[in-house]
Structures are given as structure tokens and as C-alpha cells.
């Protein structure tokens, strides 16, 4: 059977996303070129295989959620911070909670195997409809993108898999969702510290055990995230 070209979408998007996150030229055209060149690296032969083949061997094909997350990030990174659009909190929460439950059970801790539900029956499609309802209520347009794309990829057998879960979730999706949910929280924490400082309460913030952020935590968070805007 020939190589499934659709599976290469994952490595291309992941490489483009990493490049867009690391290299940030001032002009949008340059940022687009950086992302496109990085995506093209997936087809570059290195030793016995291409970079895309290496990524596929380690991670396997990605899910619709990964594609939507990468697409949103790329759009934001290329168009610039002025037009920033992050994934909705509802989408990220759906990914995080589903991933937490699904992958915990998928490791084989119990005889119940949620992965088997993805091969047949109504359980996973019903779950997808629930996600759509959540997206509708939360007015999150990325959720129909995720669910619709997953259903479409499943119908065209994009990843050589008969399991709906393979199109819905990828192990790194809940990790990315947790980070995207956690970083704004951390920023808020830093903001709070800065507010304390600006109110002239610096010494109290540094020494008080009741303060939510110690000096070391604050320095670490600031170094990770940069100064909050």
C-alpha cells in the first residue's frame, strides 16, 4: 500500500508551529515563509528516512484536535499579536478532560478499554454530539471545526484507522490544552504579584507566607512567560 500522504499533515503542521513559535521575524510575510519552510522540512531526507517519517514513527498521525490547535496558533503567530485568536476555553477544557480520562484508562489500569468504543457503536459519536452542544452553548467555533474535521477524516480513512478516537485525540492534545489553560492562569498570578508591587507592598509580598507567589516562583514564572502585558 502506498504511503498515506494525509498522515504527513501532522509532521508538516507540527514543524511549522514549532518554527512559528521560535522564530518571529517582524513582518507577517517573513513569518509565513518561516512556517512554510519549516513545514517543508518534513519532506527532507535525513539518513534512511525523511524528517516526516521520523516524526510519524515516534508520534504517529495526529488528530483533528492537533490540526485545529496548530492552525489557530499558526494564524495567530503569522498574523501577529494584534489579531491574536487563541483556542476557546471550552475547546481546551474538552480536550483536557477527555484526554485525562481517556489516556488514564488507555494505559491498561483496568480491564475497561475506552479505545475499543471507537471501533463501533454510538458511544463516541454521541460524545462528539455532546461536544458540539458544549461548543454551541459556549459559542466556541473551534469545537465544530474539531468535531467536523475528526468526522471527515474518519470517513475518508485519513490515518489508516477504523477507530474514531484516533481522529479525535492525540496524546499531546491534552498536554497542549493544559498548558494553554495554565499559562493564562500563571500570567494572572504574575499580574497579581505586579499589582502588589505597584501598590507599594513589595516587602510584604516577598516575605509573607500568605502571599500566593513567593519571590522564587515569581522570578521563575516571569522568566518563562516574559513580563505580562
Amino acid at each position: 500500500m502506498p504511503v498515506n500522504a494525509l498522515e504527513l499533515v501532522g509532521p508538516v503542521l507540527i514543524l511549522a508551529t514549532i518554527a512559528a513559535a521560535v522564530i518571529r521575524p517582524p513582518r507577517p510575510v517573513a513569518r509565513l515563509a518561516v512556517a512554510a519552510c519549516a513545514g517543508a522540512l518534513a519532506f527532507l531526507p535525513v539518513g534512511p528516512a525523511t524528517i516526516g517519517a521520523f516524526l510519524l514513527a515516534v508520534f504517529g498521525p495526529v488528530s483533528a484536535a492537533t490540526i485545529v490547535l496548530c492552525a489557530i496558533y499558526l494564524r495567530t503567530a503569522i498574523s501577529g499579536p494584534g489579531r491574536a485568536q487563541l483556542p476557546s476555553r471550552a475547546f481546551l477544557l474538552c480536550l483536557f478532560v477527555t484526554g485525562l480520562v481517556f489516556y488514564s484508562l488507555a494505559f491498561g489500569l483496568t480491564t475497561f478499554d475506552p479505545y475499543d468504543l471507537g471501533y463501533r457503536g454510538v458511544t463516541v459519536p454521541a460524545l462528539m454530539l455532546v461536544y458540539l452542544l458544549i461548543g454551541w452553548l459556549a459559542r466556541a467555533p473551534d469545537i465544530p471545526c474539531w468535531i467536523g474535521l475528526a468526522a471527515l477524516l474518519y470517513l475518508i480513512d485519513a490515518s489508516n484507522s477504523n477507530n474514531l478516537w484516533d481522529y479525535l485525540l492525540f496524546p499531546l492534545d491534552p498536554v497542549a490544552a493544559a498548558l494553554m489553560l495554565g499559562i493564562p492562569l500563571a500570567r494572572r498570578l504574575v499580574n497579581r504579584c505586579v499589582d502588589i508591587e505597584s501598590a507599594g507592598a513589595r516587602s510584604r509580598a516577598l516575605s509573607s507566607a500568605r502571599s500566593p507567589c513567593s519571590f522564587f516562583v515569581r522570578v521563575a514564572v516571569k522568566r518563562m512567560l516574559g513580563r505580562p502585558q
Binding site: 510519524l56 514513527a57 515516534v58 488507555a106 471501533y119 457503536g121 454530539l129 477504523n162
Partner: protein, 380 residues
């Protein structure tokens, strides 16, 4: 525009639901088992080395009966286990002698065919699919055994030529960790149940369900306790089967039972049978009698890892009594047995004999009369 997005998502989800509802259900019965071998009128027991691989390492042999009565064996071989030069090999036995072994595929050809880097190859398993083709499942890895994933090839000419490999998606976690050893089991509706181990981080035995196109369409866990692996599924009747899985270093196998064609399994328990961290192989002898080859300890033996022994059960595997210990060469390990009814109306046992200098593949043939003469169940 937004309404179109929501509508498109809902419609495609409903279409996916329709496809999911049309997916094949879990099978309702195992395929009828071949009748057990009759006695041939005289005792026969013969042991030969059919492939000398030393100083290389040949291992994990499996075999299938061909339409013309020959037997085809498949194994992996390289400079050592999980070496990058490991290839999948095959040879045929015509009832008298083995043909010259030939390589089927290596890691580089696998990589280019499936579009994913494959650094090493591992266990292989050959069986006859419901459509009559030979099917070869083999493991490819990028690192250790935890990083294996499965590939499948088909042959329409009894193994003379093979289709390019295709990657199987069997696991939700990076599709890593599934390996094979025990023989596949056919079902009445033309599906295949493939005993497999899940070995990513924490191992357990499971069953993969494959359709006629060798696509995975179901997966059930056999047991999650005891960290078992390499299950052998012995079919008892059209719905019941017993699974014997390897566990590490404990000196027993774990046994689970199903009475719904592998959909659900009883809580695993330790077998009374001795077995030391190696897969076992089982054949039906008719009635409630089973024959098992396993790694046990002969009386007085201390090095329990190095003896293959044959045991019979008269109660569908509840209790076992050993009746023969295969003699071993000093310092060599006999392990990974493959037991099947084959050419000449004989039972054929293939296994690995290895030491630090490499390994050879051994072929033992014995008749049903030989089993009966050693205290096994009488000839039918």
C-alpha cells in the same frame, strides 16, 4: 457562515455515526477447529536442527500449513535481538527436509513502504486468513520492545511473494507497544482474532480483531493484572477459549477464560503449571485433552529457564501433568515453542535454542502414538 460551520460539523458527525454503526460487530463464534490428529500406528519422535543461525540470532518462529501439505515457517534473524540488521526469514518443510531459508523483508524496506521510520524488526507471525491468503504480521521498532508497532503483509501464492507491508493502527498512545507471538484464531464470520501483548510502559495481554482486509476493527483486554504478555489463546469450543499468558520470572502462567468469543475474560489466575517467563504453545488432542509445550523444570533441575517440557491436560487446561522433558545441550536455552499439527499427520514443534554465541532453530516431530505411549490420552 457560522451556521454553515455548525451544520457541516453536525452532518459529518452523523455520517461518522452511521459508519460507526455499520462497523462489524464482535464475532459470535470461533471457526470450527480442525479435527485432532489420529494415531499413525507407530511411535515417532525426531529432533533436528533445521536452521543453524549461529553466530547470528534466529528467533520467534511461527509456521503455517500450506495447501500442498508443506509447512512454511517464518522467523526473525539478525546479528542479535533488536539489531538494525534483523530481517524476517522464511523456509518450507516438505515432510522430509527443509528448503533454503530466504529473507522476506528488512527494516529499510519496511520504512520506505509504510512511510514511517522503522529501525529494527521483531516478532513475526504467519497464518492463513479467512480469504485463503497467507498473512504475515511482524513487529517494527524505533527503539526497545516498548516502541514496537505492527505491520502486515499478504501472500497469494503460499508465501513465494509478499505484498508491500502496511502499518496497523492498534493503540491510541502514539500507536506504540503492540507485539505478537501466539497464533491467530479465526472466527465463523471470516474475522481474525490476533492475540497480542501491549508492552508500552505497562504490559498486558489483549486480543485484536482484524477484518478480511487485515484492518483492526476491535480490541479487548484479556487481563490487566500480573503484567502478562504473549498470550496463547486455546479454543475449546465455538465460544469458549482459554488464554495462557507469560509473566515475568514468577514460574507460572496466568490463565483467563472466555465464553463469549473473547469479548470478556475471567479475572486471571496463576496456573498450577510451571512456566518461567516464556510464552507457551498449546495443541488440542481431542475431547478435553490439551497438549502444552512450556518452559518448566525437570525434577532436580535448578536452571529452570532452559528446559522445554510437554504436559497434557485432561480437563481443558485446569490441571496438567508433564510427560516429557526435551533434552538440552549444556548451556543452551530452549524457548519460544510453536506447536502445530502439520505434514505427515504429525505434531510439529519448532523452537529456538540459544546461548550467548547465537541461536539455532529446532524442529521436533512426534506422532499421536508417541504421546499415548508416554502416558498421554489414549489414541482416539
Amino acid at each position: 457562515m457560522r451556521h454553515v460551520l455548525w451544520l457541516a460539523a453536525a452532518v459529518s458527525t452523523l455520517l461518522a455515526a452511521g459508519a460507526s454503526l455499520r462497523a462489524p460487530a464482535w464475532p459470535v463464534a470461533f471457526a470450527p477447529a480442525a479435527p485432532p490428529l489420529p494415531c499413525i500406528g507407530h511411535e515417532l519422535f525426531r529432533l533436528d536442527t533445521f536452521h543453524v543461525a549461529r553466530p547470528r540470532f534466529a528467533h520467534a518462529v511461527s509456521a503455517v500449513l500450506l495447501r500442498d501439505g508443506r509447512m512454511r515457517a517464518v522467523w526473525y534473524e539478525g546479528s542479535r535481538e533488536l539489531a538494525p540488521d534483523v530481517r524476517i526469514w522464511t523456509a518450507t518443510f516438505d515432510g522430509e527436509a527443509w528448503g533454503t531459508p530466504a529473507a522476506i523483508i528488512g527494516a529499510a524496506e519496511t520504512s520506505s513502504a509504510i512511510g514511517r521510520y522503522t529501525r529494527k524488526l521483531g516478532n513475526s507471525l504467519v497464518y492463513r486468513g479467512a480469504g485463503g491468503d497467507l498473512v504475515l504480521i511482524y513487529a517494527g521498532a524505533i527503539g526497545g520492545w516498548a516502541t514496537v508497532s505492527l505491520n502486515v503483509m499478504r501472500s497469494r501464492d503460499e508465501g513465494a511473494t509478499w505484498s508491500p507491508p502496511r502499518h496497523l493502527t492498534t493503540s491510541p498512545i502514539f500507536n506504540l507497544g503492540n507485539n505478537v507471538r501466539g497464533p491467530a484464531v479465526q472466527t465463523v464470520d471470516g474475522l481474525t482474532l490476533l492475540p497480542a501483548s501491549y508492552e508500552f510502559l505497562r504490559s498486558h495481554p489483549e486480543l485484536l480483531l482484524l477484518d478480511r482486509d487485515d484492518r483492526v476493527i476491535g480490541r479487548r483486554r484479556i487481563a490487566t493484572e500480573f503484567a502478562g504478555s504473549q498470550p496463547f489463546v486455546a479454543v475449546l469450543d465455538d465460544r469458549r477459549a482459554k488464554s495462557f499468558s507469560r509473566v515475568k520470572l514468577e514460574g507460572y502462567t496466568i490463565v483467563s477464560m472466555t465464553d463469549d468469543v473473547g469479548w470478556s475474560w475471567t479475572r486471571p489466575r496463576q496456573s498450577a503449571l510451571r512456566n518461567y517467563d516464556k510464552p507457551v504453545s498449546v495443541a488440542r488432542l481431542g475431547g478435553k485433552h490439551l497438549l502444552m509445550v512450556h518452559n518448566g523444570a525437570a525434577p532436580g533441575e535448578r536452571d529452570v529457564d532452559r528446559t522445554l517440557m510437554l504436559s497434557v491436560s485432561d480437563d481443558e487446561g485446569e490441571s496438567w501433568r508433564p510427560f516429557h522433558y526435551l533434552e538440552r545441550e549444556q548451556g543452551r536455552r530452549a524457548h519460544y515453542p510453536w506447536l502445530m499439527a502439520g505434514p505427515g499427520g504429525l505434531y510439529h514443534l519448532l523452537f529456538t535454542s540459544s546461548d550467548s554465541a547465537g541461536s539455532d532453530l529446532i524442529h521436533v516431530r512426534f506422532s499421536r502414538d508417541w504421546i499415548a505411549a508416554r502416558g498421554g490420552p489414549a489414541c482416539p
